[in-house]
């Protein structure tokens, strides 16, 4: 019985928190591969969103815009896929709560932010798969991106996922049942898709819709990606709304605010089960 328990190893605070983020993220990735339904969903989503919805829009709305609508929509669908799938992934927090697994995470001596960031990054895995699926469906529809454009989008995708996940935490972090969580996912993702410029240009929005669109992190994420993709092209001014640096600052600010509020709500709701 002399070897019943393991000795704890000394690690720096930062490396320990990074290990927690990686562990929680790895758990979600493990669960992704253990769930055939989730894998199928990730592969079908781009076909539905890009192939069907996008294809229909491209056929019926592409005229008279002054820019290549198909490419505009592809970028929109890529970012929308990251936001939508990350938000859906975050809803697994509700399942973790139902099975009491959140208790296991909450009693561990780690930062609550590490738990949430790990969860967001884990949820992003399916989103990244969906993003690649969208690119492939786009290719099949004859919409291309250069390798450098694709690499830049991939480089920006963790920030997009973090931004989407932080926003989702504010709402999903306090929900306690799956039914409400599913409604919440729709409430978060659908307005963003239509109001942030993913598939419909919002350069002419005004009034309440203008205000709402400017409050949503996805508006700035989309604009940042488009500013990267359209940089140096004649279409830049008709497609991009803000300076990329402004977009980056707003995204980081909104993400940090949402992360702080979301983590606070989540921790508070777990403490008052």
């Amino acid at each position: 019985m002399s070897e019943l328990v393991l000795t704890r190893r000394k690690k720096s605070k930062l490396s320990r928190e990074i290990n927690v983020v990686v562990t929680i993220m790895a758990r979600d990735i493990t669960l992704f591969f253990k769930s055939p339904a989730t894998i199928i969903m990730s592969l079908v989503m781009p076909i539905v969103m890009m192939g069907m919805l996008g294809g229909s829009l491209a056929q019926n709305m592409a005229g008279g815009l002054g820019f290549n609508y198909k490419q505009f929509m592809l970028i929109g669908m890529l970012v929308n896929m990251l936001f939508m799938t990350t938000t859906m992934g975050m809803s697994s927090l509700v399942e973790d709560h139902t099975t009491d697994f959140t208790q296991e995470m909450m009693i561990s001596p780690v930062s609550r932010y590490s738990i949430i960031i790990g969860k967001i990054l884990g949820s992003s895995f399916g989103a990244i798969i969906g993003m690649f699926g969208t690119v492939i469906v786009g290719l099949c529809m004859g919409i291309t991106l250069s390798v450098s454009q694709l690499l830049l989008i991939i480089a920006l995708s963790p920030l997009m996922c973090l931004s989407a996940g932080s926003l989702a935490t504010i709402i999903i972090g306090v929900i306690k049942n799956n039914k409400t969580a599913n409604i919440a996912v729709s409430l978060i993702t659908m307005p963003q898709m239509f109001l942030c410029g993913a598939i419909i240009p919002i350069g002419n929005s005004h009034g309440v819709l203008y205000v709402i669109s400017r409050m949503m992190p996805m508006t700035y994420c989309l604009d940042l990606v488009r500013s990267v993709v359209y940089a140096g092209t004649p279409q830049y001014n008709s497609v991009v709304l803000n300076n990329p640096l402004v977009n980056l600052i707003v995204i980081i600010t909104l993400t940090v605010i949402c992360l702080v509020i979301g983590t606070f709500f989540f921790s508070k709701s777990e403490k008052n089960r």
């Binding site: 002399s2 328990v5 393991l6 790895a26 669960l31 208790q103 001596p109 780690v110 403490k271």
Partner: protein, 313 residues
């Protein structure tokens, strides 16, 4: 050193009319085995949840291993291991993956995606522990395929693997068969002896609390009585001598002379307190045909306490 210090702890849930825990006080010393008993809804789980930082308190002071549960929650979490009333395992992961996840969360190892990639020390310990509690064949199976007993055993391995100073057990043997219960207690006893772990137990199986150092009964959110199981039995129930003799009349006379309050039924039952059985028997001249000393169990005392509505006998 006190490993658990609770002073005037109050917990009132939102929208509740009255607090679930009403200003309770108690301490648990280092290495002590402490049982927290009470009927359903008495406030046991609420108290354990506050002590383990999973529930915020309304007022009062709670320290675990010298750390304040609210101001130094992270230090408290470093020092405690918990087995919740409801299993808190991930049903989609395997038993080993659940343990790996736990050790990585507690900073014992860097995460590796497979068991084979984890350090040899980890692999050996996990296999050894699985053998001790008898789940070696189920180690790589998904949790949802394990029986309730196996899941409980796994939770116990998980809660002890990071060497906590204080182990909280919230009805740990609920749903376990008799053999599994015994195995678990042997395992917990061995860990206690080896590491001096302080154990805080809540249970519905009162016999499990017979071996503890201190018992505390909570009722309606208030501490009703605290003491060792022996003190508890003495305070709540009298010991009994069961006697009989061929010459029962003579025995009756002798007992009356000693001013003892006894009952005559099939045998003569003599409850006694403040006097030993030896002293009573020594004063009897009548030849006895039946002589039995009945020691009340902690369960008897506990049931008596609840039957009398919390009034000490």
């Amino acid at each position: 050193m006190n490993m658990i210090e609770v002073k005037s702890l109050v917990k009132k849930y939102d929208k509740a009319k009255e607090p679930s825990v009403k200003g309770i006080d108690f301490t648990v010393k280092e290495g002590e085995f402490f049982a927290f008993l009470g009927p359903n809804g008495a406030g046991k789980t609420t108290t354990i949840s506050v002590l383990t930082t999973t529930l915020s308190k309304t007022s009062g002071e709670v320290k675990i291993a010298g750390y304040d549960v609210e101001k130094e929650a992270k230090c408290v979490r470093e020092n405690v291991g918990i087995i919740f009333q409801q299993p808190s395992l991930d049903p989609q992961l395997s038993a080993e993956e659940n343990i790996r996840f736990h050790t990585c969360l507690y900073g014992m190892y860097s995460y590796r995606p497979t068991f084979k990639l984890m350090p040899a020390e980890y692999r050996k310990r996990v296999l050894d522990l699985a053998e001790i509690v008898g789940i070696q064949d189920a180690l790589f199976k998904p949790i949802k395929k394990l029986s309730g007993g196996m899941q409980r055993k796994l939770e116990i391995i998980r809660s002890l693997i990071h060497t906590p100073s204080v182990l909280f057990l919230d009805e740990p043997t609920q749903g376990l068969d008799a053999v599994s219960r015994r195995n678990l207690w042997e395992y917990i006893d061995s860990v206690r002896k080896q590491y001096g772990t302080t154990v805080f137990l809540t249970t519905h199986y009162i016999d499990e609390a017979e071996k503890v150092d201190k018992v505390c009964i909570i009722n309606n959110g208030e501490i009703a009585i605290t003491g060792s199981p022996e003190e508890m039995k003495q305070n709540l129930l009298n010991q009994k001598l069961i006697l009989d003799a061929d010459d029962r009349n003579n025995l009756d006379r002798e007992l009356s002379a000693m001013s003892l309050d006894y009952k005559i039924g099939n045998h003569i039952i003599v409850p006694y307190q403040g006097i030993s059985a030896q002293e009573i028997i020594a004063k009897l001249k009548t030849r006895l045909s039946v002589l039995k000393i009945e020691e009340p169990s902690l369960e008897d005392a506990y049931i008596e306490y609840l039957k009398t509505g919390g009034q000490i006998a």
